[in-house]
Symmetry: C2
Subunit: 447 residues, 2 copies
C-alpha cells in the first residue's frame, strides 16, 4: 500500500478505525483529518458535565490527541477540514488556516458524524440559545449557567437529550420546561414508557408542554422568552434538542450514494458504492437486525463498532460491521428507561410483521427482599412466527435488562424461546421469574 488509510472525522468511528487498523497492520500509514480540536470524546457524557457530575470537560475525552500521535503512531491532524473527495482519483482535498492540499488515499473512511438540527426558529442567534452537539457547546452552556445565572430554562424537544438536560438543569437550580411538538416525549421508547417518565419529570418540577409547536425565541441580545402556539413563556436559557441530521454533503458532492434514511448507504462491511470508500458512525446507515432494512440510529456503540470493523477490514481482514437494534437507554432523575428493536406497530406492519404486544409490571426483586422496585416492560412480537420484535422498559432499577431482549433480537428468538431462557435468579438480584421472562410468558399467552 503506497498511499495511507485516510479518515475524515476524529470521533468514535474515525478514531476506532484508526487505532484498530494501526494495531492490525503496523506498516499501514493512517491519517485522520479532524476539522475541530476535540477528538475521541464521549458526547453522551455532556449532560453530566453540565449537571456538575463530571468535573472537567477533558474528563470526557477517552484518548487524548497526543496519545494517538505519540503512542499509537497515528497522524492525527486537528483543524484540518476535508472540503472535497475525488473517488476516481482517490484523493481528498484538505483545507487549513494556512493552505489547501490534496491527499491521496488507499482506503478512505467517512466519519463526519451528525449535527444538531436547527429548525427555522426566530431568535436562534440570541445569547443563551444553544444546541448540545459539540464539546464547545457543552462548555458554553456550563459557563452560561454559572455566569449569567439563568432562573428558567426552555428545552425544545423531548427526546433523550431533552430529558437528560432537564435533569441536569433542574439539578443546577433552574426551573425547567420541555416543549415537544408530538403528544409524547421519548417517542422511540413507546407510549407506556413515555407516560411513566413524564409523570416522573413532573414530580421533579419539570413543566411539560406536549403537542406544542415552538415558533421562536424573544429578547434583546439575550434570550428572555419562548414563543409557541400556546403563548409566550419566560426563558433565560434555551436548549434546542430536536434531533440530528447526518453530515452527508461532502459524500453527496463526490457521488457517494445516500440510502433511504438520508444517511450514507453502506454494505455489511461499511463500504459505500466505491469499494475503497467506507462510511461509519452518525453519518452512515446500518442494517436493522429486526427488519433487515437500512436504518439510521446515530448512537455511540454502532459508531465505535463499525469503525473498529472497518479498521480491521482495511488492515486486511474483512470484518462485518454488525447491525443495529436501535437499543437505547436514558436516565431521568431516579428512573431509567430503555428500548430495543421495533416498538412502533405501524413500522412493524410496514416491515411485514403482524405485531402483538403486552405491557406488564413486575418487581425487580422478590417481595420479601429489600430494595426492589417495579419495572414496567412492554414486549412486542410477530403473531405468526412468534419472533420477538422489540421491547421497552422503565423503572427505578434494572432497566439494563433490556440487553436480554437486545440479545434475543440479535438471535432472532421467538417469545417461547425467550420465555425458556435460563436467566439468573437469587433474591438480591431478581425474582424467580425475571421481569423479561414474565413479559414473555404473558405475551406467549396472547399469540
Amino acid at each position: 500500500m503506497d498511499h495511507p488509510f485516510v479518515i475524515i472525522g476524529g470521533d468514535a468511528a474515525g478514531m476506532s478505525a484508526a487505532s484498530k487498523a494501526r494495531r492490525e497492520a503496523p506498516d499501514l500509514d493512517v491519517i485522520v483529518f479532524e476539522q475541530g480540536e476535540w477528538v475521541s470524546y464521549a458526547a453522551c457524557g455532556m449532560p453530566y458535565y453540565v449537571k456538575g457530575e463530571v468535573g472537567e470537560l477533558d474528563d470526557l475525552v477517552a484518548v487524548k490527541p497526543e496519545t494517538f500521535r505519540d503512542q499509537r503512531d497515528i497522524d492525527l491532524r486537528t483543524a484540518h477540514e476535508v472540503v472535497g473527495i475525488d473517488p476516481t482519483a482517490q484523493t481528498v482535498t484538505v483545507s487549513t488556516d494556512e493552505e489547501t492540499f490534496d491527499q491521496p488515499y488507499h482506503s478512505l473512511l467517512i466519519g463526519t458524524g451528525a449535527r444538531a438540527i436547527e429548525p427555522p426558529f426566530d431568535g436562534l442567534d440570541l445569547d443563551g440559545v444553544f444546541t448540545l452537539r459539540s464539546m464547545d457547546e457543552a462548555a458554553a452552556i456550563q459557563r452560561y449557567v454559572s455566569n449569567a445565572k439563568p432562573a428558567s430554562a426552555a428545552i425544545v424537544g423531548g427526546g433523550y437529550v431533552g430529558v437528560e438536560m432537564a435533569e441536569a438543569l433542574t439539578e443546577r437550580g433552574l426551573d425547567v420546561s420541555i416543549y415537544e411538538m408530538l403528544p409524547r416525549t421519548l417517542q422511540p421508547f413507546g407510549e407506556e414508557t413515555a407516560l411513566t417518565v413524564e409523570d416522573h419529570l413532573r414530580e421533579h418540577g419539570v413543566d411539560l408542554h406536549l403537542d406544542t409547536a415552538v415558533e421562536g425565541f424573544i429578547g434583546e441580545e439575550t434570550v428572555a422568552g419562548i414563543e409557541h402556539d400556546g403563548g409566550v413563556d419566560d426563558a433565560d436559557l434555551v436548549i434546542v434538542g430536536v434531533g440530528v441530521a447526518p453530515n452527508v454533503e461532502l459524500a453527496e458532492q463526490a457521488g457517494i450514494e445516500l440510502g433511504p434514511t438520508g444517511a450514507i448507504a453502506t454494505d455489511e462491511y461499511g463500504r459505500t458504492n466505491y469499494a475503497d470508500v467506507y462510511a461509519a458512525g452518525d453519518c452512515a446507515e446500518a442494517e436493522n437486525v429486526v427488519t433487515g432494512d437500512p436504518d439510521h440510529v446515530p448512537l455511540a456503540l454502532t459508531a465505535n463498532r463499525a469503525g473498529r470493523a472497518i479498521g480491521t477490514t482495511v488492515a486486511g481482514d474483512p470484518t462485518e460491521t454488525g447491525g443495529t437494534a436501535g437499543t437505547a437507554i436514558v436516565k431521568a432523575f431516579d428512573l431509567g428507561a430503555a428500548r430495543t428493536g421495533v416498538l412502533d406497530e405501524e413500522r412493524a406492519r410496514e416491515a411485514g410483521f403482524d405485531p402483538v404486544s403486552v405491557t406488564i409490571d413486575a418487581p425487580t426483586r422478590p417481595h420479601y427482599y429489600p430494595g426492589g422496585s417495579e419495572l414496567t416492560v412492554t414486549l412486542i412480537a410477530d403473531r405468526e412466527t412468534g419472533r420477538v420484535l422489540g421491547a421497552s422498559m422503565v423503572g427505578a432499577d434494572g432497566v439494563k435488562r433490556i440487553d436480554t431482549v437486545a440479545t434475543a433480537l440479535g438471535s432472532g428468538l421467538t417469545v417461547t424461546e425467550l420465555q425458556n431462557l435460563d436467566l439468573a435468579y437469587a433474591p438480591p438480584f431478581s425474582p424467580v421469574w425475571d421481569p423479561v421472562l414474565t413479559a414473555a410468558k404473558v405475551l406467549a399467552g396472547k399469540l
Copy 2:
C-alpha cells in the same frame, strides 16, 4: 379424564404445575400431596431470614395453602406422604397419621425435590448442628442464634449456601469460618470469580479453611467444636451445606428410570419412561442447553418453569419444559458473582469442545461517571466453531449482565455474534462497550 392429575410435592415444580393445569383445564381435578406443612416457599430466601432482612418466615411463602385451596380450587393435602407409586395400576399409595390409601391418577408429577447431603460426620446430631434445606431448619437456626447466642459458626461447604450463610451469620455478629474440601469455594463459578469472592470474604472477617476435610463435631449435647484434618476449632454453631441429593427413592422403587446424574430421567416434555408420569424440579434432570446432555441443576427457575410446562401439557397443550444453562448468581457481602453454561474446561472437552477462555476487568460505567465499579468477566468459547460455552463474572455492581450470556447460550451464538450485539449504552448505566462485549472482543482475538 376420570382420574385426577396427582402431584407429589408442594413446592416450586408441584404448585406451578397444579396452578397452571387448573387454569388451563378448569374441569381437571388436581390433587397435591405434600408430606410437610410448608408449600410454595422461596428456599433461596432462607439465608436472608437468618440474616434478619426478612421479618417473618411466612414472608417467604409465595402463595399460602388456603389460597391454593380456596381461590385456585386445588385439592392441596399437607401432611400426606406418598409412600408408593404403581405406574401400571396408575395409583399412588398415600400415608397420613390416620390412614393409608390408594389414589388413582390420570397423570402423575413427581416433584419430590432434593435433600441436603449429610456426610458421615461424627456429632451430626449434636444441638447446634444444622443443614439448611427446609423452612423448619431455617426457623431452628434463627431461634438458636437468638437464644443460644453462639459466638462462632463453622460452615461446612463453600458453595453458594455456605457463602450466603457466612454473610448472614457475620451480620448477626458471629465469627464465621468456612471449611471447604476443595481448593476453592464456589466451584461452579470458576477460579477467577472464586478468588475474588474469597478475598472479599476474608476482608469481612470470614476465616477460610480450603483444602480441608472435616471429620466431625465435638461437644456434650451441644456442639462446641469442629474436627478437621488440620486440627480442632471452636464452633458454637455448625451449618452443613455440602450440596443436595435428589429425592428419587420413591421413583426408583416404582421402576422409573434415573439418568446419568442420578436424578430422574425426563424427555423434553418432562416425561419419565412412563408416558403419564412426569418429573420436575430438584429431583429431575433437565437438558443442558450447551452440551445437549442431561444435567442436574437443582435451582428454582428450572423447577418453576418445568412445573408450569407440565401443567400445560397435562391440560392438553404439549409444552416443552426448556433446558438449563446452569445459570446461578450469588451475593457475598458487597459483591455479586454469577455464572452460566460450561466453565470447566475438562467438562467442555468431554462434551466435544475445544475450550478457549479469557478473563478481563472492565468498568460498569465510564471512568468519568460516578458510581461504577470493576467487573471481572471470564468468557469461554469453542475454538473451532466460535460458539460461546459459558461465562462467569464478579463485581460490586452489574453481575446480572450474566443474562446477556445466558441468552447467547440459549441461542447458540458465536463470540463474533456476541461481540456484535447492540447492547444498551448511556453513562449512568454502562460504558460504550459493555463488559460482556469487551470480553467477547478479547476472546474473538484469541480464536
